[in-house]
Symmetry: C2
DNA sequence: TTGTAAGCGTTATCAG
DNA sequence: CTGATAACGCTTACAA
């Protein structure tokens, strides 16, 4: 910058202001400065800028560590976040979320990042309490019981579940089961709690029979749960799944029990398109807008960093349903005697 | 740091050296300094350090942009990279690889990062040429035709394919097909080229019949290719797949053609465990060690940054095969008359 | 509209 | 073994 200033016979501050626009610079010099920068291929040094401005223009995505082993959030999420961050002039560092508050603190106390995006927050999350107490800028993917003043983006799980239930109901299914995350290990995990509540509300509202099974996060868990489910509740004709990690187990269990999809049983899951298309038959899904969630999370964090005032940006995204081939009308005549309201319904 | 120095009555440089160990400090003062840092909860400021040392202690992972739409590299890769980077004291920024050299240059000219990890390199990759010409530190996931002086980590695709072929051969399969990436759009993409060559070598070496079909990257492409394959070459009993994005299409096509897996046809794919367990039946795979590749890539970049000398670290990882249920002995008696060498073979 | 200069928090050189 | 002190490259009052 000094060099550019010298070459043009202006001061460094003029160069700096020409670039940042933080004070007015005569149109002529501004253009000359920018032209010279272009010519010299100048790029402002990140460290110098960060040191002087006390802002790193870097944010961190705290990725849930391997504690669940597998994780539900797809890669598209990270990509979406990275893209918008870069578009807004920020770098996005991915950090496997250290369970220790200390490590988070270290990250922010070094001034390495200006703000955080928290993933997989629990209903009562100690990290959230800590950051809130310190008034540190952050946004959440997911949300807590108490979100006062905090921006977040989440899926509207009750609505997502209701779409699934509604579709199955439309097809004549009257006995549904929800397979969700294991509550023992996931107590306080928002999506589980909200999905389950939503499921009971949705089934109740339609006067149909619904209950849930909890499953661990692996395919084996899904297999086991589905097998017992089929024995304990052979009258079930529709399954709703919230955690795509168990899908393989469910499908294999059904296959081994000679239950055809969708002839004997219909399945709807909250899952990405990528996963939907891997299944046989292709899975009817409530779409998980991962990339968009990443985008929104980063956007609202940066808005906050850039001094946006006003209420926090709290959004529960609405989902759409994509009907593929894992859902169909109830066939079993034993189930209801007659396929009452399904016969003439058009595909929506 | 100044504050700590003052409180202890030593100079800032002593504090700095006590922390960095870059010059000897008497055991006593060193301990006092560290104790005081602990007490005051001191964290060295990243920007100040970066400015003075001219190193950001940050590296970037250049993630392939959405040009293929879907991407083959799983999330575990990013996680593995992030974990080891953080363990070595570096931050890992994820950047959706801008096709433009300019943007890469901007990143490095700002001094925002000390080095790059390139993903999805082509056999002749302009980015590689550019970085090499500038002597900029980087490592690759994958490798080019000419890798002189560049560290990389890649899968040993010929070996991976050979494991797949070997397993199918062991089971008595004598007519194999490889479904790989579409060459029209992927010309110069190393894994495709190497897999295909490896496939022909492996089948040739065993005196069995092998040929390949190329498929686009979507499930629909996989479906189409598999359908035509079944018509054109009904004698095929084993399929090897390199790109897990097409798996769903393949499985669905087989299902729709009433080909049972593994009774009528066996399948082996290069894929992650996560995907393997989604399929019905669970897929026999040559394991893709994504996390390890991420780790190694980052490690060798950092080694390079820390001034390691000597030859570049060039590694083609060996794979293991995990036999699940998509492979089985040839059943079709029409195929070879007799199942010659398969009858007595033990599982390895 | 522009210039001057004081930081920002480290590292590293040069003397003791 | 330790202290001063000059960078590092930029931002931003304060003056003019």
């Amino acid at each position: 910058m000094t060099e550019i200033a010298n070459r043009l016979g202006v001061s460094v501050s003029t160069v700096s202001y020409a670039l940042s626009g933080r004070r007015t610079v005569s149109e002529g010099t501004r253009r000359r400065v920018l032209a010279e920068m272009e010519r010299a291929n100048f790029q402002p040094n990140a460290a110098g800028r960060a040191l002087a401005s006390r802002r790193s223009r870097t944010i961190a995505l705290l990725y849930p560590a391997g504690d669940h082993g597998l994780t539900t959030m797809p890669l598209e999420f990270v990509i979406g976040a990275a893209e918008v961050a870069s578009k807004l002039g920020y770098a996005l560092v991915v950090s496997t979320s250290p369970a220790e508050d200390e490590q988070i603190l270290s990250l922010i106390q070094r001034g390495a990042v200006d703000g955080l995006v928290l993933m997989e927050v629990a209903l009562r999350d100690p990290r959230v309490e800590m950051l809130r107490a310190r008034q540190y800028p952050f946004t959440m993917i997911g949300h807590c019981s108490d979100n006062a003043g905090i921006s977040f983006v989440d899926l509207d799980f009750p609505q997502a579940i209701d779409q699934a239930v509604s579709e199955l109901h439309r097809l004549g299914h009257r006995r549904l089961v929800l397979i969700d995350r294991d509550t023992e290990t996931e107590s306080g995990y928002g999506p589980s709690v909200r999905s389950r509540q939503g499921f009971y509300l949705s089934t109740l509202a339609r006067g149909i029979h619904g209950f849930h099974f909890s499953s661990g996060p692996t395919a084996q868990d899904g297999y086991r749960v589905t097998s017992s489910l089929l024995i304990a509740n052979p009258e079930v004709t529709g399954i709703v799944i919230t955690n795509s990690d168990v899908l393989g187990g469910v499908f294999n269990a059904l296959h081994d029990s000679h239950m055809a999809i969708p002839d004997d049983i219909s399945i709807v899951a909250i899952a990405s398109r990528r996963i939907a298309e891997l299944m046989v038959p292709p899975l009817t899904t409530v779409d998980f807008p991962a990339a968009e969630m990443g985008r929104i999370g980063v956007e609202s964090l940066i808005a906050q960093l850039e001094g946006e005032t006003g209420p926090p940006n709290q959004r529960c995204l609405q989902t759409g349903i994509t009907v593929r081939q894992s859902t169909g009308p109830v066939k079993s005549a034993a189930e209801h005697g007659r396929k009452d309201d399904t016969a003439m319904v058009q595909s929506s």
